[in-house]
Point group: C2
Chain length 122, copies 2
């Protein structure tokens, strides 16, 4: 009864299914592409300030994300040292790495879902 969706859409164009995925904590966004990138950049640079700059994000916004991440986690995901021989800096914890790995796998499964749905349209 229902026509195939690609009969409704124009022939000469390319249609795909796409989307975004995130983890919510008590119905508030907790972790998604933004926090993932922030953690990765803090890991690469050792600096929240540098990571925020690279993302064109204010330092305040970066701190808010970090504070939320740490609040919802059993152990802190990001710790900041001041002073010391290296002049301080920020590091991400093993738990943060596991959260990153979990989210990457989740995203892979989601990409497979999107791919299957896009193929079904054709």
């Amino acid at each position: 009864m229902t026509r195939s969706i690609n009969k409704i859409l124009k022939k000469n164009k390319s249609f795909t299914i796409n989307g975004r995925l995130w983890i919510e904590c008590n119905n508030n966004r907790f972790f998604g592409p933004g926090p993932l990138e922030l953690l990765e950049r803090i890991d690469a640079t050792g600096s929240i300030n540098q990571a925020a700059k690279e993302m064109k994000m204010s330092y305040k916004k970066a701190w808010e994300i970090i504070s939320t991440l740490n609040e919802q986690s059993a152990k802190p995901l990001i710790t900041t040292q001041t002073g010391g021989t290296k002049g301080g800096g920020s590091v991400i914890s093993d738990e943060a790495r596991e959260l990153i790995a979990y989210y990457r796998h989740l995203r892979e499964r989601f990409n497979n879902f999107l791919k299957r749905e896009t193929e079904k349209m054709e």
Copy 2:
């Protein structure tokens, strides 16, 4: 080797996986929750102006969405009559109804994906 994700997150909070899904045409967003709601409200009210108002959307924005929808579709999804005994109005086509039905089913499959992933976290 990897700890379960729920060992990383706080015990007393409720975590869920959530997301958004849309159709792209040549890598531009074409159809998602916004256009779906607009079509449904035009169908209910027979008026683009009224539908836009209900969504707190400008008339211009609503027209842009409608114009994009009609451009990418083999047949128009929304047609507007002026004058006539009923004083004109806008109607959605059978193709628009099929697109709505397709998107609702897609969204159902996506909800199942989200539910399975949320259950896996626990």
